[in-house]
Symmetry: C2
Subunit: 539 residues, 2 copies
């Protein structure tokens, strides 16, 4: 049952690539066609659950074809159109026939994915990638490529199984941004209720349905080898979506993507095998001499991501192949049976449902690593559609996030008692704890928090907050957030008035947060770490 294999895979990749196949025998439920797909370039793809076109861009698109005047085709005829040479690449959707030849390179999910449907119906794919139905745009775009219709009788609507029907049942307290795929954040007032976030309240950020994995047929043999062969290593890790606080960019300009407020972050104690131990066991050594620069992860749902070998192969990098989360088996929503936990890195590199791990000369392909989805461009770039390839290639994928801090208590617009700083009871969203201002701070790369400062008068004066849980972490390996609280006397002149409260943190490398979101705005809405501001009313 153990299948720690080293596989040379020279055909597909150049240079050295020792594939450590955490080999799963094509167990991917209901979507076996996905297993062989790989992204192949860094075109201007966005993440496949985003609606990347602005209203202006949409207007500029060609109008849908005149359905009535179009030619009729059989499915057999469509099936012959699988290459440019064969007269173009065609697909069908319901009874429509479409020539997608020129569109392929622009497909947000990657050229290789859309090519899986060449000559065939895209209906089953769209049934899984329901992002295509989030807005009417993909259908509108498709109609602009219409070349005909299926002849009468050729198209029979099949009842598609809902691939999201088996997604886990989720805690009702989560704030749902989408359900298919699930993107949900933890409500503000639960963020700091405990240092380690309960599993059921962890934020969820998915790209596809949750893979349902039968541990008995899983060759990673979670109940056996991984736990037995390598010592269990436990690390407290904060994982944050790189789009957390994206909606806080709205004041500058709306950015693309899920409009996370401040709940795309959670913390757990993960337990698992150290990736370094596993790599060494599989024979990886002297990565520098052997031209190994990255470790790539592939998930059951074909999500690809990579991290630098310096991180993966360092004993102090603390990268795990984790099978435990807060002392339990990792829940399905969070990567059961195995999640790559990459402390100090943004969420997207912490690949869930790990199917394969291998070392490589290059970083992972696909929209998440080499595409635009997780790259922070300059503020003056607003049009991803016409971005030259070399600009995309040179842009850095977000790996370690920058230093940040947030005010969790009190809530925005709360009424705050000037003497005690307690929040008045009518604000039911915030628990009255007797504590004053509180929040958390965190920086990527394990850089500990050395200071949090708060202001209750719109930035005129600043006070140093007290660092609490998490402040005992080593400044070089602080993988989890640091809670803070502050007692600030409300001056007479603010009593009975509204005021802007704010916080800012400094990490062990003395990096600090930018004052305004405008200086770091980016079209993908990543890494919004501007000083966090809220308005409160002092009574």
């Amino acid at each position: 049952m153990t299948t720690w294999r080293r596989v040379n895979d020279e055909e597909q990749w150049q240079g050295i690539k020792q594939a450590v196949a955490l080999g799963l025998a094509s167990l991917f439920v209901g979507a076996a066609w996905m297993v062989s797909s790989r992204e192949t370039s860094c075109e201007a793809k966005v993440d496949d659950d985003e609606d990347k076109f602005t209203p202006e861009e949409r207007k500029a698109l060609p109008a849908p074809g005149q359905v009535n005047n179009l030619k009729l085709y059989t499915k057999a005829e469509v099936a012959q159109h699988i290459s440019r040479e064969a007269g173009g690449i065609w697909v069908t959707y319901k009874d429509g026939v479409y020539d997608i030849t020129e569109f392929i390179e622009s497909h947000p999910g990657g050229a290789s994915k859309i090519l899986l449907a060449a000559g065939k119906a895209i209906d089953p794919y769209w049934n899984i990638f329901q992002q295509h139905f989030r807005t009417g745009f993909p259908l509108q775009l498709l109609e602009s490529m219409r070349v005909g219709s299926l002849a009468p009788g050729e198209y029979v609507e099949e009842k598609q199984a809902d691939p999201y029907a088996v997604d886990p049942i989720r805690d009702e307290r989560l704030i749902l941004h989408n359900s298919a795929p699930c993107n949900a954040e933890i409500p503000e007032h639960y963020i700091m209720e405990s240092y380690l976030t309960p599993n059921e309240l962890w934020f969820v950020r998915h790209h596809n349905p949750v893979p349902i994995i039968d541990p008995n047929n899983y060759t990673l043999t979670i109940k056996g080898k991984l736990q037995e062969k390598f010592p269990k290593h436990e690390v407290d890790v904060t994982i944050q979506c790189s789009g957390n606080r994206r909606s806080h960019f709205d004041g500058v300009k709306k950015a693309q993507g899920i409009p996370w407020n401040m709940g795309g972050v959670s913390t757990a104690r993960f337990g698992g095998a150290r990736l370094k131990d596993v790599l060494e066991y599989c024979g990886v050594k002297d990565p520098e001499k052997n031209g190994i620069h990255h470790v790539q992860f592939i998930s059951q749902d074909e999500m690809l991501a990579s991290i630098p070998i310096e991180k993966a192969f360092s004993y102090s990098g603390d990268v795990l192949l984790a099978y435990e989360m807060n002392g339990e088996e990792i829940p399905t929503d969070h990567g059961y049976p195995v999640r790559a936990v990459v402390p100090g890195y943004v969420g997207v590199r912490n690949v869930k449902w790990v199917k394969e791990v291998f070392v490589s000369e290059q970083e992972a392909e696909g929209p998440w690593q080499r595409g635009v989805a997780y790259k922070g461009f300059a503020s003056n770039i607003t049009d991803l559609q016409h971005l030259p390839t070399h600009v995309i290639e040179r842009a850095a994928p977000v790996q370690e996030p920058p230093v940040t801090s947030l005010i969790v208590h009190p809530a925005n617009n709360a009424k705050v008692h000037s003497q005690t700083l307690e929040v008045r009871r009518e604000d039911v969203r915030v628990r009255v704890t007797g504590e004053q201002l509180k929040g958390w701070a965190y920086s990527g790369g394990g850089r500990g928090i050395v200071r949090v400062e708060v202001s209750i008068d719109g930035g005129k004066s600043w006070h140093t907050a007290e660092l609490k849980e998490g402040s005992e972490q080593k400044l070089t390996r602080a993988w989890a957030w640091t809670f803070w609280s502050a007692n600030v006397e409300v001056p007479k002149e603010l009593q009975g008035k509204s005021s802007e409260i704010m916080c800012r943190a400094t990490d062990a490398s003395y990096n600090s947060q930018p004052e305004h979101a405008s200086s770091i705005w980016n079209v993908r809405g990543l890494c919004n770490t501007a000083w966090h501001r809220k308005t409160v009313h002092f009574d």
Copy 2:
């Protein structure tokens, strides 16, 4: 001649400390009394070449004693006053007798150093630590502790040798802040003349006279073992004083310390043995299991600093015991015969004239690591004298500096041709290169530069600069600066006017620079990385 020794040193330090004595047989020229001294706590000491009292604090000091009314003592009587129990700790300076008992813990250079003179004359020490003469304050302070005078005939003025007389002869182009000890920066217009700074133009930041070391009596055997035993490893490293740009804080409030402009930075290709190889050779292994958290360096002039073991013991940390600099032997001013080169760390951790290296449970003692000298406090802390010990202890020493970028060309107040952006010839300080705006960017911890943005209209609009030399570095191991240049069209409305030009950089962790120096001002004036601004006149 080889003396790679492991020494257990349990008495002085707690826990494990495998001393890798790069053993030098007390060759420290003219100051053998220093060899056994060690700092012992983290009191509010500033660096020993700083004048730490504000004018207000000075006024509050007691007036000098009435010399005429004081008692007379013999040297033998003074020699008995070496402890509190013996009636106090006394020293003499010229013919004055002083009771320093209460002052000892406040001595900026550390209690242990001043205690070396207990019962004796401090004259020879002050002759070496000439910082005591930079202002009249130390003498004024000393006078306030006067208890008497030496009896007639007891004091004979001795001609003291000038310990700085043998300091290297330095390039006249350096901008000298002090000469004893030497603190000199590279002039702005030479900073980017070459990617690697020529050795004679490297910035110099010393605490004491330059040790003169005879390689024939040096048990590190530079000409032998270090080079033979370990493979030579070469790394391009930018070293920057953590006080670089300190004077740019002046607009907010003057900070303590040498008023560096922007020339406290240089870059070289260093060659040497990897520290990891040396530590492994000396038997260091499994640092985590063995409770090893830091590697400490001691220099010939008793400067102490340490770095985390995660950095020192990582193959990708690239820490060197360097003996070459730009292909030459390391010059005396830069650490001959061996300098610890710690890529991605501030200058002070790159210890010169290394005498001893050892692993430790704790970080180094002394003012440079545990004292206030290299700690960045909150903006509202302006008085280091009354800072509680726990505040100092909890503050983090500057290790990796934050992301920064600077405009080197054109010079401040330059007249710039609006069409070509060339600087007019009458500005002789800047070479006309035909290039437009240019500068460099750098971040600590090897975090590569992913973007530099420039504005020529005071921040209203921003342009992405082109990244040049240095941009080919790995984003995870970018130890040297990245040069940049930008061609920005001067709009009609700016022509014939003065304008503020500025730059800001983003590193691979998406950290960015603070907009204003006010948000990061700190009393020690460290890590000023605010957007760099200059005024130019477009003709």
